[in-house]
Structures are given as structure tokens and as C-alpha cells.
């Protein structure tokens, strides 16, 4: 068969106890199951760590350590010694380390391996630490019947704040996984909830966040120190490998103090890493993460003058395409009481309170809005084979607020392609730059390119992701060096640029920007204005006054089942070597080219829904155009 890529995730759950400054925490070992061990090559392995501070006085963190350990091998530690001056607030940090080479050397050739992550923070006490592995590897799909995947199932945020009693978020938003996930013979390896958002703090009483399923008692996290009255960006990984996967569940949440930590628009995603038997699977869940092109600046001021982010999603898998539980997620920053109204496609707007008071924003707020029939607003769209347009609208109902990033968590089921599900749309993460030090200079990556093993690929989505920790008004930009003959020529081209996206305080912000207009989208053709996706190049994180990292989030498929083929007649020469330009019939945009042999031409094609036409010009007296046609 063929070499493929995939990305899976494994969580290290949120630690239940506070941690003193300069004290090491080694998370309990997790077994990392990677059953595809034929020609396996680790392409990108990221350790992502989070910690909230536990200090009662403003404390500047002076260093952070991220360690990783596989099996009997020794820990590999990396410490960044760097001081981020505290702005007088409670705070949080999120960092990434690239540990690809360590995995290459120490994972071994088996189908599983135990793994530990260790962390340590200088100068500041911390709480609610957790970690996650984001593992991208290449593998040969021949005779690999047992396969593993990670899917994300988004829950919709509530429109208002938490109370001190457990209250369900929506209605039975945690699905019956056995029924939802259509693969055969599933074995669940990790089931966890990623709970994320601003604490929306407006008081100095310490707090904790309680979570529960159904009638369970509240599972409270470690204490959140609120002495400095700061609205901190928070994330909790709530691992629930004990959850009954054969029934739906109610998801409930509470806070211990509705003033100190109301978590106004808490966003929750159920993540599942599971193995299945590919040989007996006839239907699969395709789970994608696709960046949305958010307009810069403040959100639109009204429903009339709303912000709009629109993107196309190309779906080419066989069989019936059915939208499953899916959502858009938005990150941003507010300065005072703020509401955000969100709608997608045919929905009416739902208004979320993201800040209920005049908080001191120390990092992003986060809100999640479903687009399937389980949304409070009903289904936003239906999906079909071919191009699907997703339109996200948002606007503010009260005071100005920023939306710095948005992405689509899109889940749909399809039949299995004849070449296996590894050719389907799938989202992969590629570390470009691990978290660096706090400095006044930009950070440059080593030469980087995603390594796509398939000859033919179509990039449904190309995004650049960054997580920043800053303590000044943020102006973040990520760029890549174009080569001569690409884009505007040799020099830096912008991938994402966001100015003035946050408050003056120390906090975590997240960026995820679509770059499909910057890079070529298909292996068959690179428009002259686009950069070659597979060419190694230096990337730059414009990370003055912050600690930043960069990753590429690439969603692609390798379904090239169709052909653009024809015969050129009437040529004056041999009919060989004539250039055939392929255009979209609806826009006229050139999307491909091929050449003739004795007048004949044929090239594989990744779609059979969009009308095309071909143009040939041998010379000024031999010119022609085909009719409009759909590849077959």
C-alpha cells in the first residue's frame, strides 16, 4: 500500500495538588498506544504543558522545565531560563517542547510504550498543571488492521456564568460514543474533556472548578489562588477513562465562588483516542480541525455590521456524508463587560456572555458554538460530497471585544475509501518552533516543511497555530521565508498578523490562522503567487515581549480517483508537449496544468463535483478551449 501520516493525542490529567515553586512534578506514566508500527517514523512530537499560578503575591516566573521519558529510558529535560515580569496579577502559562528526536530514539518498534512528562517552574508556585502529547507519525498502511485515532467532540458553551451548584451544560451533550463512532471493534485508550476559558475573576476569594457527569458528585480541581483578582485563561484536562461509552451523559459544572470564578463561556470538548479494526470497518468518523479566517480588530458592532469568517471544506470520501457533532471555537480578549453573538450558516444568533464584569483580562476568553442539530440554534448546515461553504458570523452586543482566532471542529461520517481510511481528510500537527524565551527579539525556526509521504495530496486546510504568553499589549505575527519565484519573491511573507489583541497583563493567547491562500493547496499545481508547501523554509515568530511557539496544522486527503483527460486535435506540430491549462468553470481561476503526448492528455484529479475546462494554445494560430465538464 503506501506511507501515510496521522496525529494522535494522549493527555496527562490535571494535577489535583498545588506545587511549590522550583519543585518538580512528574506526571504518572501513561501508555501511548501507536499500533501502526510498520515503517513508522516520528515526524513531529509535541509536549504541551499548562500551569496556573498559585502565588498570593505578584511573582515573576523565572524558568520552566519540560521533561519527557519513554519506557526505561532516562528523562530528557529541557529548561528555558527566562523571566516574565509579573504585571501584578495571577497568571497562567502554556508552553510546548518539540521532542520528536527523543521519540525517534526511545519509543522503540512496539505498538505501545509508557511515557511520563515532568515539569518544574522557577520562582512561582503553580496549580492545576497538566500536559498533553501531540504525536504525528508516518506509517505504512499495508496490513495494519489495528489503527488508532483521536477525535474531538465539541460541547456547546452556556450563555451565562457558572453557579455554585452543579448545573448541566445543554442537554446530554456527551454522546453515546459506541453509537457515534462507527468504526468496528473499538478499544478506548483515552477519554478526556478539555475544559477551557477565562475564569472571569472579579473577586479575591480562592476558587475551584467542579465537574460531573449525570448524578455524580462534583470533582473539584485544585485551588485557584485569586489574591490578585485576575481573569486568568484556564484549561483543565479531565480524564474520564471510566465513563460508560454506551450511553449519553449530562455534563455538569459548578464554581465554588460565582464572583471569583464564574467561567462565563466555558468551552468543553470531549476528546477520544481509540483503536479499531480497520479491516472490518465500513464507516468512519472523519474528525477535522480547520482554522477560520477571522476579520482583524474588534468584532462587528451589530448584526448588520457583523464580522464574517468563511471557508470552504472539500469532502471527497465515499458514501453518504453525514454531519456529526461539530462546532466553531473562538478565542479573544475583552476589557470589560462583553457579549458575543455567534451564528453559523442558517442559524439565528446565540449571544454568549464572555465577560460579565470589568475583569482584568490575563489571557484569552474562549467560547464554543455547535453547528450540528444539537446546537441550541439547530443545525447550521448540511454536508455533501464536494465543496462545502461554512460561514461564521459574529458581532458584539455591548462593549468592544477582540476575536483573535476561530476554528472549526468538523466531524462527519462516511464510508471507507477503497484505499483505506488513511487517504481520507485528516488533520495533522507539525511542530515548527517550540516555546522559546521571553525576549525583545523575534524567534526563527530551523528549516521546516511538513513531510507528506503521498505523491498526490490535497490540502483541505493549512493553518498556522501559535500559543503566546505575553505581558505587554500584544502584536503577534508569524511569517515564512518565500523563495525566489514564489509569492513576491525571496523574503518574508505573512502567515498571521494580529495587532493589539490583548490587555496589558500577563496571559495566554491562542492563534490559529488559515494559510491556504499563502501555500499551494494541491500537489498537482502551484500557482506562482503561492509558496510550495513541501519546500523547507525558515519560519519566524514575531514574539517580542512574549514566549511563543509555532506549529502547522495541516488537513489533507489523498483521494485522487478522477481524471481530467482529453485529446487535442488540430495542432500544427507533433501534438506532444503542449501545455493544457485547467481552469474552474465557475471562477475561471487556473487550478492545474498538464501536458500532451501525441495530442492526448490525462491527469488525476481530487474531485468530481466542480466543473472545469481546459485551454490549449500551441501558437497564435492554434488555440482552443474544451467544453465545461466534471472530471470522471
Amino acid at each position: 500500500m503506501a506511507l501515510r501520516t496521522k496525529t494522535v493525542e494522549y493527555p496527562f490529567p490535571t494535577n489535583a495538588a498545588p506545587l511549590a515553586a522550583a519543585t518538580r512534578l512528574d506526571f504518572a506514566a501513561v501508555t501511548v498506544y501507536l499500533p501502526e508500527n510498520s515503517s513508522r517514523t516520528f515526524r513531529s512530537v509535541i509536549v504541551e504543558v499548562y500551569a496556573r499560578d498559585g502565588a498570593t503575591t505578584a511573582t515573576s516566573m523565572t524558568s520552566y522545565l519540560i521533561g519527557v521519558k519513554l519506557g526505561a529510558a532516562a528523562f530528557s529535560d529541557a529548561t528555558q531560563t527566562t523571566t516574565m515580569t509579573n504585571t501584578g496579577e495571577n497568571q497562567a502559562w502554556m508552553f510546548r517542547r518539540d521532542v520528536t528526536s527523543y521519540f525517534t530514539s526511545n519509543y522503540g518498534s512496539g505498538t505501545s510504550q509508557t511515557c511520563q512528562v515532568g515539569i518544574q517552574f522557577g520562582a512561582s508556585a503553580t496549580s492545576n498543571q497538566h500536559a498533553k502529547l501531540i504525536i504525528t507519525y508516518e506509517w505504512d498502511d499495508a496490513s495494519q488492521d489495528t489503527r488508532v485515532k483521536t477525535v474531538r467532540i465539541p460541547l456547546e458553551s452556556n450563555t451565562g456564568a457558572l453557579t455554585t451548584s452543579l448545573v448541566e451544560r445543554g442537554t446530554n451533550q456527551v454522546p453515546d460514543l459506541d453509537a457515534l463512532l462507527p468504526e468496528a471493534s473499538k478499544t478506548y485508550r483515552q477519554v478526556w474533556f478539555e475544559v477551557e476559558g477565562s475564569e472571569c475573576t472579579n473577586g479575591t476569594t480562592d476558587s475551584s472548578l467542579g465537574l460531573a457527569l449525570d448524578a455524580e458528585a462534583s470533582d473539584d480541581d485544585a485551588v485557584h489562588e485569586n489574591a490578585l483578582n485576575s481573569a486568568v485563561y484556564y484549561r483543565r484536562l479531565w480524564v474520564r477513562n471510566d465513563m460508560d461509552t454506551s450511553v449519553a451523559h449530562a455534563f455538569l459544572a459548578k464554581t465554588s465562588n460565582a464572583t471569583s470564578a464564574p467561567y462565563c463561556s466555558l468551552a468543553v470538548t470531549l476528546c477520544v483516542t481509540y483503536e479499531y479494526d480497520h479491516s472490518t470497518t465500513t464507516s468512519v468518523m472523519n474528525s477535522l480541525v480547520l482554522a477560520m479566517p477571522v476579520p482583524r480588530g474588534h468584532a462587528g458592532p451589530s448584526s448588520t455590521n457583523k464580522s464574517r469568517a468563511q471557508r470552504t471544506v472539500c469532502i471527497e470520501e465515499p458514501g453518504t456524508i453525514t454531519l456529526a457533532q461539530s462546532a466553531v471555537r473562538l478565542y479573544g480578549n475583552a476589557f470589560t463587560t462583553a457579549n458575543l453573538s455567534i451564528l453559523v450558516g442558517s442559524q439565528t444568533a446565540r449571544t454568549y456572555t464572555v465577560y460579565a464584569g470589568n475583569y482584568v483580562g490575563c489571557g484569552d476568553y474562549c467560547v464554543q458554538h455547535r453547528v450540528d442539530s444539537g446546537s441550541a440554534q439547530g443545525a447550521a448546515l448540511t454536508l455533501a460530497r464536494g465543496e462545502n461553504t461554512v460561514t461564521l458570523d459574529f458581532y458584539r452586543a455591548t462593549n468592544p471585544l477582540n476575536v483573535g482566532a476561530a476554528y472549526l471542529i468538523l466531524n462527519y461520517t462516511s464510508d471507507v475509501h477503497a484505499d483505506g481510511d488513511a487517504v481520507h481528510n485528516h488533520t495533522t500537527w507539525w511542530s515548527i518552533l517550540g516555546s522559546q524565551t521571553f525576549s525583545t527579539t523575534d524567534d526563527l525556526s530551523s528549516a521546516f516543511a511538513p513531510n507528506i509521504p503521498e505523491t498526490n495530496w490535497y490540502a483541505t486546510g493549512i493553518g498556522v497555530e501559535a500559543i503566546t504568553v505575553s505581558n505587554a499589549p500584544g502584536s503577534f505575527a508569524a511569517q515564512a521565508v518565500a523563495a525566489s519565484g514564489e509569492a513576491a519573491g525571496a523574503g518574508l511573507a505573512t502567515l498571521v498578523a494580529q495587532v493589539g489583541y490583548n490587555d496589558f497583563e500577563l496571559g495566554v493567547s491562542r492563534f490559529f490562522e488559515p494559510c491556504s491562500d499563502v501555500f499551494q493547496q494541491c500537489s498537482l499545481y502551484r500557482p506562482p503567487e503561492a509558496m510550495a508547501l513541501e519546500t523547507t523554509r525558515v519560519y519566524k515568530a514575531g514574539s517580542q515581549f512574549m514566549v511563543a511557539n509555532l506549529a502547522m496544522v495541516l488537513t489533507y486527503h489523498s483521494i485522487f480517483d478522477w481524471a481530467v483527460a482529453g485529446d487535442v486535435t488540430g495542432y500544427g506540430g507533433t501534438g506532444t508537449g503542449l501545455t493544457v491549462d485547467i481552469h474552474r468553470a465557475d471562477t475561471g481561476v487556473k487550478v492545474g496544468e498538464t501536458t500532451t503526448t501525441a495530442g492526448a492528455f490525462s491527469t488525476v484529479w481530487p474531485d468530481d463535483t466542480v466543473e472545469l475546462y481546459c485551454v490549449v494554445r500551441e501558437d497564435d494560430t492554434h488555440v482552443g478551449r474544451s467544453g465545461n465538464e466534471v472530471p470522471a
Binding site: V564, A565, G566, D567, V568, T569, G570, Y571, G572, V580, F601, L612, Y613, C614, V615, V616, E618, D620, T621, H622, V623, G624, R625, S626, G627, N628, E629, V630, P631, A632
Partner: protein, 63 residues
């Protein structure tokens, strides 16, 4: 085949010589290999066609 291209001498300037793709059908609306797109025809040419049709109708009426 579907994307057949029949090369022609288009003439001078931006003139366009319309023709059926090899194996296609030049009758408007008859098949999706139709190479004719009215939007591709310069307005001056359409005017000329109009003039010819008017002259033809006049001839028929007089006859």
C-alpha cells in the same frame, strides 16, 4: 473524451473562432462538451450577427 480541445486559428487581435471540440457537439445545449460560450463573443460580433439577421428577415418579408 470529456475535455477534448480542438485547436483553431482564432484570427487576429482578440478574435475568437468558435468550433466544436473534437468529438463534441456544436449544437448549443446538446452536451456538456459544448465549446460555445456566448459571453466569449465580442459585442461587435453580436452586433454584426444582429445586422445579418435583420437583413435576412427583410429579404424573407420582401420575398
Amino acid at each position: 473524451m470529456a475535455f477534448d480541445v480542438s485547436l483553431r486559428d482564432p484570427g487576429t487581435g482578440f478574435d475568437i473562432a468558435l468550433a466544436a471540440a473534437a468529438g463534441g457537439d456544436a449544437t448549443p445545449g446538446a452536451s456538456f462538451s459544448l465549446p460555445f460560450n456566448p459571453l466569449d463573443v465580442p459585442a461587435a460580433d453580436l452586433d454584426a450577427i444582429d445586422d445579418e439577421l435583420a437583413a435576412l428577415l427583410t429579404t424573407l418579408v420582401l420575398a
